[in-house]
């Protein structure tokens, strides 16, 4: 009797180890190649490492960062891009998802087309957009041909417009992602609820406000958080389109990290900036998720 009981139990224990053993190489690689270098890299934030010498200087890099007006500017641009990206991407993504949920012939093709920008290389498409936005580029030529010469701008060289030009590209790139998330959210709303709303005679606006939007709350949380993270970390598009210019008008925290670290060779300073950016992304994302989750539970 005892043997019969202990037998299966023993097998169960040995079986439980198998998933861990299978996962072990991947977990080790993740820790060794991803987390450990990040932690070690983080410690450089407290040094004046310039590629050769590294001396422990405590929080001096952080004090320097907060005194640097370029960094303050970059912080403002980062918030500007992230905030607008979250709002515009999610509104457009939701509108697209709702439009592309209805059955029509080219629906899947349209969905693929809108999602494609997210799947393409951000850096490569950034260079294409840089060409499009040049003063003699296709956009101004089209505006000229349409008789809208007054609308022609030096999009990427105008300090007032450059940041919004980059925002357009970011929106183009990430709206497809939010569309997919909202499509999944919309698919998750049971058909019976749509039928119930139809039977209850709700207007399209009442249906959207009182039923669709509240039931999309989990999708909104995911989509808003992802777009916030992408907005705060905007780098590829900025680097390829303006490089942070003109006159630092499009500098973001991410481009500052790159510039200080790899252009100026200030590895310690760059690490401190990267640490601040990481902390900022983490804090804002967690705060946003907590807020949206709280809203979800209230719904």
């Amino acid at each position: 009797m005892v043997d019969q009981v202990s037998g299966p139990r023993g097998r169960g224990r040995s079986l439980n180890k198998v998933p861990w053993l299978i996962a072990l190489p991947a977990v080790a690689a993740l820790i060794g190649l991803r987390f450990l270098p990040s932690i070690v890299g983080g410690t450089f934030a407290f040094t004046d490492w310039n590629g050769a010498d590294a001396n422990w200087i405590g929080f001096d890099n952080f004090f320097a960062i907060f005194r640097d007006p370029t960094t303050s500017n970059a912080l403002v641009h980062t918030f500007q891009l992230a905030g607008l990206l979250v709002v515009i991407c999610n509104v457009l993504g939701l509108m697209l998802a709702m439009s592309l949920r209805t059955a029509f012939k080219t629906r899947n093709l349209m969905r693929a087309m809108f999602f494609l920008p997210f799947a393409l290389s951000h850096l490569a498409t950034g260079y294409i957009w840089q060409y499009i936005f040049q003063y003699s580029g296709p956009l101004n030529r089209i505006l000229g041909a349409a008789g809208l010469e007054s609308w022609q701008l030096v999009w990427l060289a105008d300090p007032n417009w450059a940041i919004y030009t980059i925002l357009v590209v970011l929106v183009w790139q990430y709206t497809g992602l939010t569309m997919v998330i909202y499509l999944a959210g919309l698919e998750g709303i049971p058909d019976e609820l749509h039928d119930a709303v139809a039977m209850d005679g709700a207007s399209p606006w009442l249906k959207f406000r009182k039923v669709t939007l509240p039931l999309l709350a989990p999708a909104i949380t995911v989509s808003a958080t992802l777009t916030l993270i992408y907005g705060l970390g905007a780098f590829d598009q900025v680097l390829s389109m303006t490089g942070g210019g003109p006159v630092n008008a499009t500098e973001t925290l991410a481009t500052q990290v790159w510039q200080n670290t790899f252009v100026y060779g200030r590895f310690g300073y760059g690490s401190a900036l990267a640490l601040i950016l990481t902390g900022l992304v983490a804090i804002l994302s967690i705060a946003q998720v907590s807020l949206l989750r709280y809203q979800e539970t209230r719904l």
Binding site: E192, D195, M199, G201
Partner: protein, 397 residues
């Protein structure tokens, strides 16, 4: 409150599949009409067409005399209770019940008043602030009913609303829904695959199969005078017993040959069913409800010898499973005929019939305990026999 008329209503899908074929139903004001049939028989599609949730391919639907084919669901003044309740999960019970009123632009104070009155009728006044996820199945069912009732619509549509409840609650809710419907007097179409629900709730029943209406009538008519093999087999639990018999005339009497045994039909049988003459000297299917086989036989009943197989004690009654030597109804020709009438009938007919043995079920007194293997004489209520044509499966009347 209003009458509902379906005139030659059909539903054809783009792939050519026809879910409902030429459906004609007249549902009087205040009627409780139950659409019953197996899965895929078209009953839910028919209901959804009345609701406006499904486009009508052909025919006309009238509500209170008005043609509503092209009227939007929300403007038909019809309320629907769904199989999975379809409660809005993020809204409280109050908000769920109030939502149709909000959609209609009913003022806030009147909304509150009507919701509270409806909740009182359904006994859910103490749960108005709760979310659906915190409610039991029965409570959700009541909320779904509340959402339908609060509108005071012209008609209720109910799509298998009890199918997610456990057996005990289902019985309770059955009478609850019947009570509310009777009190409000609102014309109701109720869809179910459960024939017990149909029999107990409906003032009228429409039996459907493969998109075609098989028979429509009161529960008594549907049970007592089934129009064909399908209706006979589908309605009743346990189902009707079927056996093939040879019909012949001996003098003035009609005689049914069931295997080696004979039953002499009383003269009034022929008077009641003159069409039996057309089957003289031929095979016919006879149907016997379990309650019309008695043990011991009553004095004036005909007798049929049978071998006891087993019995099931149900408390108030006992189901006696017996076998008789006779031609099973599972022969190819009757299976094909039954298939024409019903998808369910062949399986039901085939069940228990092997070789030249036919299985029958009798509903008897629970105090009688026949031994398995023993031979018993069952009384047969000859005036309660049903006759079906072997070819078409239609009742011989």
């Amino acid at each position: 409150m209003a009458s509902i008329h379906l005139k030659n209503v059909g539903k054809r899908y783009p792939d050519g599949n026809r879910a409902v074929i030429d459906l004609n139903l007249d549902i009087a004001d205040g009627d409780f009409m139950v659409l019953v049939g197996p899965s895929g028989c078209g009953k839910t599609t028919a209901l959804r067409m009345v609701a406006g949730l499904e486009e009508i391919s052909e025919g006309e639907i009238h509500l209170g005399g008005e043609l509503i084919n092209d009227v939007e669901p929300g403007k038909r003044d019809i309320a629907m209770v769904f199989q999975n309740y379809a409660l809005y999960p993020h809204m409280s019970v109050f908000e769920n019940i109030a939502f149709p009123l909000l959609s209609q632009g009913v003022p806030r104070a009147e909304r509150r008043d009507r919701v509270e009155r409806t909740a009182a009728v359904l006994g859910i006044s103490d749960m108005l602030d709760r979310k659906p996820r915190t409610l039991s199945g029965g409570q959700r069912q009541r909320v779904a009913m509340g959402r339908a009732i609060v509108r005071e619509p012209q008609a209720f549509l109910m799509d298998e609303p009890l199918s997610n409840l456990d057996a005990k609650l289902r019985v309770q809710m059955r009478s609850e829904i019947s009570r509310i419907q009777a009190e409000l007097g609102i014309t109701t179409i109720y869809v179910t695959h459960d024939q017990v629900e149909a029999m107990t709730m409906g003032t009228r029943i429409a039996v459907m199969r493969k998109g075609v209406l098989q028979q429509e009538g009161s529960p008594e008519v549907i049970y007592g005078q089934p129009a064909n093999l399908f209706v006979a087999a589908f309605i009743g639990s346990p189902g009707m017993n079927f056996v093939t018999a040879e019909l012949s005339r001996r003098g003035d009497d009609l005689v049914l040959g069931i295997g080696p045994q004979e039953l002499v039909l009383p003269p009034k049988t022929l008077a009641q069913r003159p069409a039996l003459l057309e089957h003289e000297s031929g095979s016919i299917v006879i149907g016997i409800r379990p309650e019309h086989l008695s043990l011991p036989p009553t004095d004036n009943s005909a007798k049929l010898k049978a071998t006891v197989e087993r019995s099931e004690m149900l408390g108030a009654e006992r189901l006696l499973h017996v076998s008789i030597s006779a031609k099973p109804v599972s022969a190819d020709e009757i299976m094909e005929a039954a298939e024409e009438v019903s998808a369910a009938a062949p399986a039901m007919l085939q069940d228990g019939s092997k070789g030249d043995e036919v299985a029958l079920i009798a509903r008897i007194d629970p105090s009688i305990v026949p031994q398995p293997g023993s031979t018993v004489e069952l009384g047969v209520g000859l005036d309660r026999l049903h006759f079906f044509d072997l070819e078409s499966g239609r009742a011989v009347l």
